[in-house]
Symmetry: C2
Subunit: 285 residues, 2 copies
């Protein structure tokens, strides 16, 4: 049921297309939004090809024809804003920068959703289920992610802690052993301290799960790497969306964990949830 973003598909296919097809592709990618509003005739004119070429192009991408293609393209555009310029600039107002930031976050989530390896997720859930103890490590922004992870995973009735102090991390890593999972979160995957610490844990026979960027030193040395490829923000104004993606991946892992534990585990979760009731003012309605 899950579509991969049509724009990505077209972009990927670009080198394999022949002349007129790539003309069509470029015309669409130049302004996908307007493509959804134009007729086959106007798009053909814009791409400087014949109408049947556009039609053939559409069929090549597993659509019934041009109208069907337009609908699929329109769907891709909702979550996917990759080709629309959504960078915040100095002239932006609240009305314009607010949706831009939401959209770029949404877009990154959609990209990762469609690209993340389910096998790796499964493997990580396996490791977490077997773990005798879990440590979540992160510095800076990733420290906040690690903290959130602790808050989520301690509910699973096993020893979980988070750390954002490199000395504590180092000591804990040095006492690591088989059965321990060191869940290391780092956007860049290049922070020296973090990699050192992960290596210590790994050398002690502990499992190191890395939530980080592909092809980074941390990913390379870890036992399992959850690789998240979120475009680096070169833009001064733009927020770092990788931490959001990391949080959602931790949600996915927690869900996988809960499902693996089976329905007998649900009452335990409910107990924890209910424990907070007395700390709150109840709703009157």
């Amino acid at each position: 049921m899950h579509y991969q973003n049509l724009i990505n598909i077209i972009t990927d296919a670009l080198p394999t297309l022949n002349k007129s097809e790539s003309k069509v592709a470029k015309a669409i990618l130049a302004d996908p939004e307007s493509a959804t509003r134009s007729s086959i005739a106007s798009l053909a004119k814009k791409a400087e090809v014949s109408e049947p070429s556009v039609n053939r192009f559409c069929k090549r991408f597993d659509t019934a024809g041009f109208p069907d293609f337009k609908i699929k393209l329109a769907k891709s555009l909702v979550a996917g804003v990759r080709f629309v310029n959504r960078n915040v600039d100095a002239n932006d107002t609240v009305e314009s920068y607010t949706p831009k930031i939401f959209d770029s976050t949404i877009n990154d989530l959609a990209l990762v959703r469609d690209s993340i390896s389910h096998d790796v997720i499964n493997d990580v859930v396996d490791q977490l289920i077997q773990a005798k103890r879990i440590y979540f490590f992160g510095l800076g922004t990733s420290g906040a992610v690690a903290r959130d992870a602790e808050n989520k995973f301690f509910r699973f009735n096993l020893p979980v802690s988070f750390h954002d102090d490199v000395l504590m991390m180092r000591m804990l890593a040095s006492t690591g052993a088989a059965g321990d999972v060191f869940f290391v979160i780092s956007h860049t995957g290049r922070t020296k301290e973090i990699i050192d610490i992960a290596k210590i844990a790994s050398n002690n026979g502990a499992m190191v799960v890395a939530l980080t960027t592909p092809a980074s030193p941390l990913a390379a040395m870890s036992s399992i790497a959850l690789e998240v490829d979120v475009p680096e923000n070169t833009d001064e104004y733009m927020a770092m969306t990788s931490r959001i993606v990391h949080l959602v991946i931790l949600d996915v892992l927690a869900t996988g964990f809960t499902l693996r534990r089976g329905p007998d585990f649900l009452p335990h979760l409910a107990k924890i949830k209910n424990s907070l009731k007395p700390t709150r003012y109840q709703k009157d309605s």
Copy 2:
């Protein structure tokens, strides 16, 4: 530029429609996904009306005609999961629960994006710009959000701290004064301790900004409330997406802050960014 979900619009308009129009509406709402794939003729047949009636129906909803309507409807279906069951259940596999969790997060972000008040955001940015000092307060999950906020806002060269310890919060609130902004984050907006603390700060003349649920006690007592209405998760398996939304809103505020400070401020941000370089292994390429 931002559309409200077509399905909601149609549902809302249902009582105002006349006989054949409501037939069309019902036919579409019964299976919106298939409506995007059918021709005007087949939809007319399904709704037991004439083709022009379908066409008139489309035009009533601010679309150029049937094809345009289908595209807008298709877009609505992507972000809108209202009619698609996206709840995780015990039979889900990695392949199915992973996109579900991403999608529900994306959906909540889209809902807030389209409903959040830009005026309130502007007001909050005003307050943050004027602030002599900012405190981010949160407990549990919101503690992680507060921590992330500190990490973001300290870059702005003003005294910022985050706290997740109620005693510390209480003491700080009691020393609060005009010029201080207490940025209080709480998903429920009903945590007694947090509300107490916010009241202390408020009574001392400090500004209390609440990031919380509408119509909650915290929202009611705050100076400004950033109200985020994310459906409560009754589902045992489902993650809490409100914290993600909160993080994105903080991104929006930070962006608003940066823009308000103007371009002269950018070198300062670059300096902080560069300060981390020596802690990392550099890329070889």
